[in-house]
Each structure stands twice: as structure tokens, then as C-alpha cells.
Amino acid sequence: MKKMRRGIAILIPVLAFCLVLPFLRAEVNERVMVTVLVASNQGTDFNLDNDAYRDQLIKLFSYKSYSQKDQVVVRLERTKREKVSLPGGYELLLLLQDEQSGKLMVQAVIRKGETTYLDTIMSILKPGVAFLGGPPAEGGVLILVLESGI
């Protein structure tokens, strides 16, 4: 009887640990910086917080003018979609799908009202950068820079 009591006393913490373990993993969250730009061929202005972006944007795209509209840091969780308001009535929805060593799998949706302009699932290195763009806004196009591992 004594042995049985001792066994149960050991078993209860083991069971408790086994049940809690999955939820410990579920609390992972990641920070992603979203830089919102509007690119156009009207004028030649570069309105960026960080001029270091300028050379890269010129190399990557063929627009003449780039204007930074916003920059936010979003904390992503596995079970919760985060929303970022964008110019032109668009919104960006981000959901963390998976997180492995050195990689971040994120679902990104750009939509306006009920219309989905872009819906993608991509894995980004940490640190890493991905560009999303194309939706027309303010006489140009919207370009989003997602930076992970900040």
C-alpha cells in the first residue's frame, strides 16, 4: 500500500507535466516589422524614414517615387490574426503558422472589404525580409516590407 501511494505521488506530477507540455509550446510568439510604402511614377520624391532603403527599392522596382506611410511592429501568435491598417482602405492580416529554428511561417493576407487582393503563406528566415505588393493605392501601388527576427 505504501509503495502504491509513493507511486501515485510520483505519477501525478508526471501526468501534470505531460498535460502542460503542449501548451508551453503554444505560447510562442514572434515580432515582425511591417513597413508600408506607396510607390508611384508621379514625381521623384523619396519619403523614407531610413534612406538606406532607397538604393534597394530602386534596384528591386522601377517606380520613381516612394513614400513611407507607416511602420509598425506586430507580435504574431499561432492562434490570433493580427491586423494592420493600410492606405487606401486595405488591411493586412498576419497569422503565425509555424516557427522552427531559424524560420518563420506566416500567412499574410491583403484585403479590402471582402476582396482578397493577396493571400500567401511563406516561410521567412530569421532575420529575413519579404516584399508584398501590387494593390493600387493613392495613385501608385502598395508595397509592404515584412522583416522578421527583429
Binding site: K59, Q71, D119, F131
Partner: protein, 140 residues
């Protein structure tokens, strides 16, 4: 009385003596104690532990499955979060130019407004991935 008869009588007496001794309650009690002390079979080693080990195994398997499910959550449409994005202290953006080499792997890409494209451009020996939608005939 012949020698043979004497031997038989002696044997009978000896047998009767042994019989009485064996049936003696005191002797029987002592014998029982002796057997219990030295010859009782030990209890099976995994008597009550077996079901406990089984239970632990079941819980471990269940935990692994739940853990695995959390590792690969299915996309479930959810109501839009009304959570106000926290505005952190002003962050001086790190120049993209200085970010380490990156490779973005696109698993899915769809759009309701036009064709989509994924392409990479090299920038200073670093591949940069761009996901683009050609909405309403707009061009890159």
C-alpha cells in the same frame, strides 16, 4: 516374536510417532512459519505498476499528438482581431541592405483580383523575394 515381527512393530511405532508429531498444532504452526519465512514466493515485481505504466504511456502518446497538432495548426478562419496594435517605443529601422542573406519560401499564393507572381532579385549577392499581385492591370 520373530525378528521380522519386531522390525514391523518398530516401524509401526515410528510411523505412529511421526504421524502424531506432524499433526501436532504447535509443529504445524512452526512449519507454516518456516515456509512463509523462507519459501514464500515474492510478489510479482510489476503488480500494481503495470496499469500505472500503461496510463503514463497513454498520456504520453496523447500529449505528443496534442503537441504535434499545435506544431501544425490548421488554418481556421477567425473573426478579425480588434486588438489595437501596441505602438512600441520609436524603432529606428535597420537598413534592409544590412540584413543577412535571405531566402523566402512561398507555400501558397492566391488572389481574387488578378494574376500573381513570385520572383527574386539579387541585391548585392543576396536574393530578395517579392510577392506581387497585378491588380486591375497595374504593372510593376
Amino acid at each position: 516374536m520373530t525378528r521380522e515381527n519386531r522390525e514391523k512393530q518398530m516401524n509401526r511405532l515410528y510411523r505412529d510417532y511421526l504421524h502424531r508429531e506432524v499433526r501436532n498444532p504447535l509443529v504445524r504452526e512452526e512449519k507454516r512459519k518456516l515456509i512463509e519465512t523462507f519459501f514464500t514466493e515474492s510478489a510479482p515485481r510489476w503488480g500494481w505498476q503495470k496499469p500505472l505504466a500503461f496510463a503514463v504511456g497513454i498520456v504520453a502518446v496523447f500529449s505528443f499528438l496534442v503537441f504535434f497538432a499545435y506544431q501544425h495548426p490548421a488554418w481556421v478562419p477567425q473573426s478579425i482581431s480588434t486588438h489595437q496594435l501596441a505602438q512600441p517605443a520609436p524603432v529606428q529601422p535597420e537598413p534592409i541592405l544590412e540584413i543577412h542573406p535571405l531566402v523566402t519560401e512561398v507555400k501558397r499564393l492566391t488572389s481574387r483580383v488578378g494574376p500573381t507572381m513570385v520572383y527574386q532579385k539579387m541585391y548585392r549577392e543576396t536574393p530578395i523575394t517579392i510577392v506581387w499581385v497585378f491588380a486591375n492591370g497595374e504593372v510593376l
